[in-house]
Symmetry: D2
Subunit: 341 residues, 4 copies
C-alpha cells in the first residue's frame, strides 16, 4: 500500500504534526509506503512527488509551516486537472491520498473523491471555519498569538489614552477575532458575520474613555461597515474566487481618530498568526487527526474527513464538511455583549 500526503491552502501550525503522525503510524503499525505530494494541488497537477519516510518526519512536530510546501492552486480550474492528478498518482503507484487542507483544498478533495480517487481528508485552517468539526488545528495558535498582542496593547493604550486597533485574520468568519477579543478583554469586536455601524463603534470607544480606560478594537480582516463605505484598497481574486481584502484596521483607526478627536493606531498581525510553533493543543489535535486519518486509509474508508466531536475523533463525509463555511453563530457573539464598551 502506497500513500501520498498533500498539504494545501494557507499554511497552518500543526501541518507537520499531522504529516508526522500519519507517516509514523502508517509505517510502524501498518507497514505502508509513503510519498509526499509537494505544493498542494499544484504538485499533484505537475507530478511533484517526493520520498517520505520516518527520517523525513523526525523533529518536525514543533515546527510551523509544512515540509511538503503548499499552494492555493485549484486543479478544477485547470484543463484536465482531475485527469492529470489521477495520472500522476497512478504513475507513482499511489493507492490513496491523505489530503490536509481547509475549505478550498477539501472542496477539491470532495470532487476528486466523487471521481474515484481514494482519499481521506484532514481539516486544517487557522480560521476555524470548516464545518462538521468542533475545531481545526492552527486556530488555537492563531488565537493565542492575537491574544498576546492584545495583552501587550492594553498597557500602551492606557499610558497614552488612545485607541488601539488590531487587525486579525478571518476573511469570511470572525472566529479568531471573537476568541482573541474575548480572551484579551477587547471592548469592540468586529466580525464579517455582523456588518458594523461605525457610529456605534465610536460610541463604544467613547464610553470606554469616559471611565478612564483606553479602548482596544479587534477587527477580523473581513469585517465590513454596514454602509459598505469605500475603504478597500486591494481587491484581488484568487483561484477559488475569494476576495483578498486589506485595510480595515487602518481605515478604522483613521475613522475613530477623526470622529472621536483622539489618537488611534493600528497593528496588522498578518502572517505571524499562522507561522511558528503550534500550541500544545494544536499539536495534540493535529497528532490525533493524523493517527485517525491513517486508520481510515487502513480501513479503506475513503471520502471521509476526520473531525473533532467533543473529545472524540470521528469520521464524517467530506461533502458534509465542505458544503458550507462554519460561521460564528449570532447567539454566541451576543453572549459577550456585557463586555463591549
Amino acid at each position: 500500500m502506497k500513500v501520498g500526503v498533500l498539504t494545501g491552502g494557507g499554511d497552518c501550525p500543526g501541518l507537520n504534526a499531522v504529516i508526522r503522525s500519519v507517516v509514523r503510524k502508517g509505517i510502524q503499525e501498518y507497514d505502508f509506503d509513503f510519498v509526499g505530494v509537494r505544493d498542494g494541488w499544484l504538485g499533484a497537477l505537475e507530478g511533484r512527488i517526493v520520498p517520505l519516510d520516518i527520517s523525513s518526519v523526525r523533529g518536525i512536530l514543533p515546527r510551523g509551516g509544512t515540509i511538503l510546501g503548499s499552494s492555493r492552486t485549484n486543479p478544477l480550474k485547470h484543463d484536465d486537472g482531475v485527469q492529470r492528478i489521477q495520472d500522476n498518482l497512478a504513475a507513482h503507484g499511489v493507492d490513496a491520498l491523505v489530503v490536509i487542507g481547509g475549505e478550498d483544498t477539501l472542496g477539491v478533495a470532495t470532487e476528486l473523491s466523487r471521481q474515484g480517487v481514494n482519499l481521506v481528508g484532514v481539516p486544517k485552517t487557522i480560521d476555524n471555519d470548516v464545518s462538521a468539526t468542533d475545531f481545526t488545528f492552527g486556530f488555537d495558535t492563531a488565537v493565542g498569538i492575537a491574544t498576546e498582542a492584545i495583552d501587550r496593547l492594553h498597557t500602551t493604550a492606557e499610558s497614552h489614552m488612545r485607541t488601539l486597533v488590531v487587525e486579525v485574520m478571518g476573511r469570511h468568519s470572525g472566529w479568531i477575532a471573537l476568541h482573541a477579543g474575548v480572551a484579551g478583554g477587547a471592548n469592540v469586536i468586529l466580525i464579517p458575520e455582523r456588518p458594523f455601524d461605525i457610529d456605534q463603534v465610536c460610541e463604544l470607544v467613547k464610553s470606554r474613555f469616559r471611565i478612564n480606560y483606553a479602548p482596544i478594537v479587534v477587527a477580523a480582516e473581513g469585517a465590513v461597515p454596514k454602509e459598505g463605505e469605500l475603504f478597500l484598497r486591494d481587491r484581488t481574486l484568487d483561484e477559488y474566487g475569494h476576495v483578498r481584502l486589506s485595510g480595515i484596521g487602518e481605515w478604522l483607526a483613521q475613522e475613530i481618530s477623526r470622529r472621536t478627536g483622539k489618537d488611534a493606531r493600528t497593528t496588522v498581525l498578518g502572517h505571524i498568526q499562522r507561522g511558528g510553533t503550534p500550541s500544545a493543543l494544536d499539536r495534540w489535535l493535529a497528532t490525533r487527526f493524523g493517527l485517525h486519518a491513517i486508520d481510515a486509509v487502513k480501513d479503506g474508508d475513503y471520502g471521509k474527513m476526520v473531525a473533532l466531536h467533543a473529545t472524540e475523533i470521528v469520521r464524517v463525509p467530506l461533502a458534509d464538511a465542505t458544503a458550507r463555511t462554519k460561521k460564528v453563530d449570532p447567539s454566541l457573539y451576543d453572549e459577550f455583549e456585557v463586555f463591549f464598551g
Copy 2:
C-alpha cells in the same frame, strides 16, 4: 439578590476570569449585588466576607491566581461546619453562592446543596479530572507550560545524549502528562492510571539512544512503579484524605541513570504550571463558564454545575460531576503508543 463568589482548592489560571464575568454580567445585566467569600471554605466557615463590585474585577482577566484567595479546608471535617457556613451566609444576606473549585470543593458544594444552600458550581482544575465536563479551565495553560519545558529539554538532551525527566502535576490522573508528553514529543509518558515497569521504561530509553536521539520522559507526580518500590519521601494527607506525593521525577532519573549507565537529570515544574496568565483558551472557557453560572443563578437553577460539552456550555447536576474522578481512558493512552520509545 445578593450573590457570594468563592474559589476553593489549588489555584488555577482562569479563576479571576470567572469571577470577572460572573460579576460583570450579574451587575450589568441582572442588577445583582455581590460579595466575595475569601479563602475558600475556610472563609465561609469564618465569615470572611468582603465587598465585590465592578471596580474589583477591572483588569483581572489576564491575571493568574484568585483575587479571593483559596484554601484546601474541608468544612465537612469541622464541627458544625455546614451550619456555620449557613449562618455566615445568612448574616450577610447572601441568597446564593457561585462556587468555583475542583473535585474536593465541588464535593463539599454538592453536600451543601443537598442541605439547602442555593449554589451553582464552576469546575476548575489544572488536572482536568472533573467528570461531566469535557475540559476544565487551567488545564490548557498547564499543558502549554509543560510542553514548552519539554521543547526546551530536547535540544539540551541531544547535545549531551542524556535522558531528561520532567515531573508534571497530576496526583490522581495523567491528563497533563499525556497531553504535554504527546505535544512535546516525549518518548515515555508515565501516568497514575497505569503503573509502570521500570525495566520497560529503561528499554524505551535505550531504544531511543540506539537511533541517536536523546529520550525525554514525562512523569505525572502520581505515577507509580508496578512493584510499588519504595521511592516516596513524603507522604502527607490533606483534609480531603489525599496523599501528597513527591519525588517520582528524581527517583526515575536515579534509576534510569543506574540501569542504563547514562546520565539522567530531572526538572520538577511544580507551581509554575498553575501560576501566571491563563492561555487564551482558558480565558475563553472561564469567561463563558462565569456567564453561564450567573445565568443559572438568575434562573434559580441551583445544585448544578456549568460544564463544557463539545462547544456548548450546559448545566449538569453537581452530584454527577463529583461522583468520581475523570481518569485517562486506557484506549486514549494506547492511541499514542507508536510514539513511545
Copy 3:
C-alpha cells in the same frame, strides 16, 4: 525632601520598574516624600500632581506602560511653559524631579535644568537612540517581540515561497531593525541611516529564492528608498517637529511583488513592540536606573542622567545625552553583510 516623578514621550516597557525602584529606595532608605506628575510635561504644565507612595508601586514591576501616564507635549512650545512648570512644582513643594523619558523629554529636561529646576534624568526609549548610554530599557523587549515575529514568519514564508516583510519601530534609527533582523536571520535589513536601493533589495530577494529559501525583509518604519520615491501616505508633525511616517512595509511588499513576480506580504508590528511586560534585562536595567537616579537626587547631583556604561551605572551630563541622536554606525551594519541575501 519631596521628589516628583514624571514619565514622558512614547511609553516603554520598564517605566513602572523605574518608578518602583525610585520610590522604594527613596522612601525606605532616604525617607523622602513623593508625588507623581501625570501625563508627562502636559501634567507638569497643568499641575496634575498626584500622591505616590509604596502602596502605589506594589506589583508594578512586571507591568508595561506607566502608572503615571504620558504625553508628547513640549512645554517649550507653550507660552510661559517653563514658568508654569516651576510654579506648579513650587505650589506642591516639590524639591526635585526624576524625569524618565527619551530624546525629546530629556531635551526639555536639559533646558529646565539650565533654568534652575532640580532634576535627574533617566533615559527611556525602545528605539535605543539616546546618546551617552550603551542601552536604554524597553529596547530589549521590543527587539525580543520583533525577533519572535520574524521566527514565526520563516516557516510560513517557506511553505508558500513568498517574501514576508516586517515593519518594525524606528523612525530615526535602525537599532530595532538591525538587532531583530540579525537575531531573526532576516535576509534584508533596511534602516533609516542607510537609504536603500529597491533594485538591490529585489536582487537579494531573488538570490534567496534561487537557493530555495524564502526571504524575510525587516524594515524600520523610517527606512527610505534612495530615490525618495513617493510612498508615504501620512506625514504629520508632532510638537517636537518629528515626522510621523507610515507605510514603508506595505510599499515594500507591493514593489517586491511587482518586481520579482512573486507574492509578498507585510506585517506591521506597531504598538505590540512597546506594550506588555518588560523582558528580564529591561527590568534589571530599569530597576538599577531607578536606584541610581534617586541616589543622584540624594546627592543633589542635578542636571545629570543615569546611563549604562558596560555593566556599570554612571552619571553623565544631561546635555551630553540630548546633544544628538545615537545612530547605527555604518561599520556595525556592515559587520552582518555576510548574512544578507
Copy 4:
C-alpha cells in the same frame, strides 16, 4: 586554510548561532574550509571529525543545543591527551580551532594554546561567570526563563499565602539568581558568593507575610547556609573537580515550612534554563562573537578569546579569561537590598 569548530561543557542557547556565523563568514568571505569536532574535547581526543559546510548551518540560528554535541571531558586528565588532540588535528589537516566553551573548556584551550595549538576561544556559559567579558551568551536566555517562572509563581503564592522557592542554575556564582530575582521581584535571593543565615531568611519570609504578600525565594543551586548544615544529598565530582550539588531548593522549602509554620513549596527549573531557543540578545551576541572569532583566525591572532566590552567585541588573552571565575560583586548584590523582605 582548514578550521575546526568545537563546543564543550554544558550546552547553552546560542552555540549554534556561533557555529553558523563562524562558518558563514569563514566560507563566504575568507574561502576557508571547515570541519566539526564532535562532543567537545572527547571528540578531539578520539578523532571524531565531521564535515561542516554552509548547508550544515542553515536554519540553526534559533535552535538551542549544539549540532556538534558536547561533553565535559577534560583531556588534560587523560594520558597523552594533548598529544592525541594534536595528532588528530594534524591527521585531518586542521590548521586552527575555534573553541566555544566555558571556564573549563577554555582552561583546556589555554593550555593547548601554550603548547602550540592554533586556536581562538569564544566564551559560553549560562552562568555568566567567565572573566574578561561583560557577558556570555546563554545567560540572558536562562535569566529570561527563570524570570518568567518567578512571574508565574507570584500569583499562585498569593492565592494560598505560601512561600515558593525557585532553585536556579549557578553552582559557583549567583548571576542567574541575582538577575532573575531582581527582575522577578523576589524577596529573598541566595547566591553562592554569600552564605546565608536560615534564620534571617525566615525573618524576611515572615516580614513579607506581615504585609499580606507571599514570599518568593530564589536560590542558586550552589547557595549554602552559613552553618554548613547537612542538606546535601548528592556530591559527585566531575573531571574538572567540580562538585555537583543538589537539593538546596527542597531543603529551603522544608526548613522555611518548619520554622515559619506556613506551607512552602519548591520548583527546580533544571535544564529548561539551558534548553530551547536563545533570546534575541543571545543570538545577537553569539552571532557577533562568531564573526569576530573567525576574523581573529584570519588574522592569525591565536591564543585569544573574543569578549564583550560595553557594546564592542574585543580580543583578550585566553589566560586572562580563565585565570579566575567571575563572581557577583558584594556591592552589586547590596544594591538591591531595599527589595529584600
